[in-house]
Symmetry: C2
Subunit: 159 residues, 2 copies
DNA sequence: GATAGTTGGTTCCTTTATGGAACTTGTCAA
DNA sequence: TTGACAAGTTCCATAAAGGAACCAACTATC
């Protein structure tokens, strides 16, 4: 499978990876969630080369995850902001950060804390079932073919 | 920043990406969660080249996300299974699949349904606060420096 | 009015990673 | 003794990323 074919797969994970599944896109998005908006800020913080940064920002704009917003005219300058579609990637980032905190942190502990404005406490993300509200983990879920399924593969067993 | 330096960063997202942040690792893990365990099954389903597959499996084993379990002797054959650390990546995968279902699905809808064994219903993952149990989204969270922070960057503002 | 600085890129060339196909190793079965 | 199977490894061609320099449209300074 070539990289460009990814978003044609009947798999939402593959299609998501077509947008954010490379080295840099998630680090760019992390910085977006921290309030970074301008080309040179991304460059400074990430240590990414300029043409790869330009390419990734362009791709994220094409996928409607970021949008360019002018902040001055003459010379025209634009900054990059998360769209609603981009903001909805927050659970993905939170889940990854939480896993990193648990399994990849050094002796000093988690680098950042997430404060829930609603209750004012340092929180970790918990994934719950949309229907019953109970926490779910891998073993609580059974997978079955949905409406968009085409038999381009077979579910080997319902884990 | 080089790829190998990623896991030295004081950022749990970067460290997580050092493990699962490449083209193939998440697709391999998707298949692991579907019950795939053997080298040739991964190869058939993913269309990945053999030496990249071997490399990624090795890396995932080194990071204790998968482990090799012998299933026959003479000739010795081993399969790959998720460790507990690997199983804890489930929320990451669920969040990505859910985002793909919402934003990247074609007209036929989501390719797979996730049934919560606990309540028997088709569910979507909802991220809630570990402290108060309320659903959280990007705008509900304020970020502050935690114990593992070192000033290798500055939080630009508390989004 | 020439020179330098700022922002947001692009171009060119080198290094690294990936794709594709063939080869290897240990074993069993015909 | 030939063939098949599972799980890799090796070799070479192509694609992607790193690094540095250059460009364009202004503004500010000397």
């Amino acid at each position: 499978m070539r990289w460009e074919e990814l978003d044609q797969q009947p798999c939402s994970l593959a299609r998501t990876l077509a947008v954010i599944g490379d080295r840099w896109s998630l680090l760019i998005l992390r910085d977006c969630f921290l309030g970074i908006r301008r080309f040179d800020q991304f460059e400074d913080r990430l240590g990414i080369t300029r043409h790869i940064l330009a390419d990734r920002l362009k791709k994220l704009v094409e996928h409607d995850v970021l949008r360019k917003v002018p902040y001055q005219e003459r010379p025209r300058r634009e900054e990059y902001r998360l769209t609603d579609k981009g903001l909805e990637l927050h659970p993905v980032l939170m889940a990854m950060v939480h896993w990193g905190d648990r399994h990849m942190a050094d002796e000093r502990g988690a680098p950042v804390r997430h404060i829930h404005k609603g209750c004012g406490q340092a929180m970790t993300p918990v994934t719950v079932c949309s229907e019953c509200g109970e926490p779910v983990n891998a073993r609580d879920i059974r997978v079955e073919a949905g409406p968009g399924w085409e038999s381009a593969g077979v579910l080997p067993h319902s884990s």
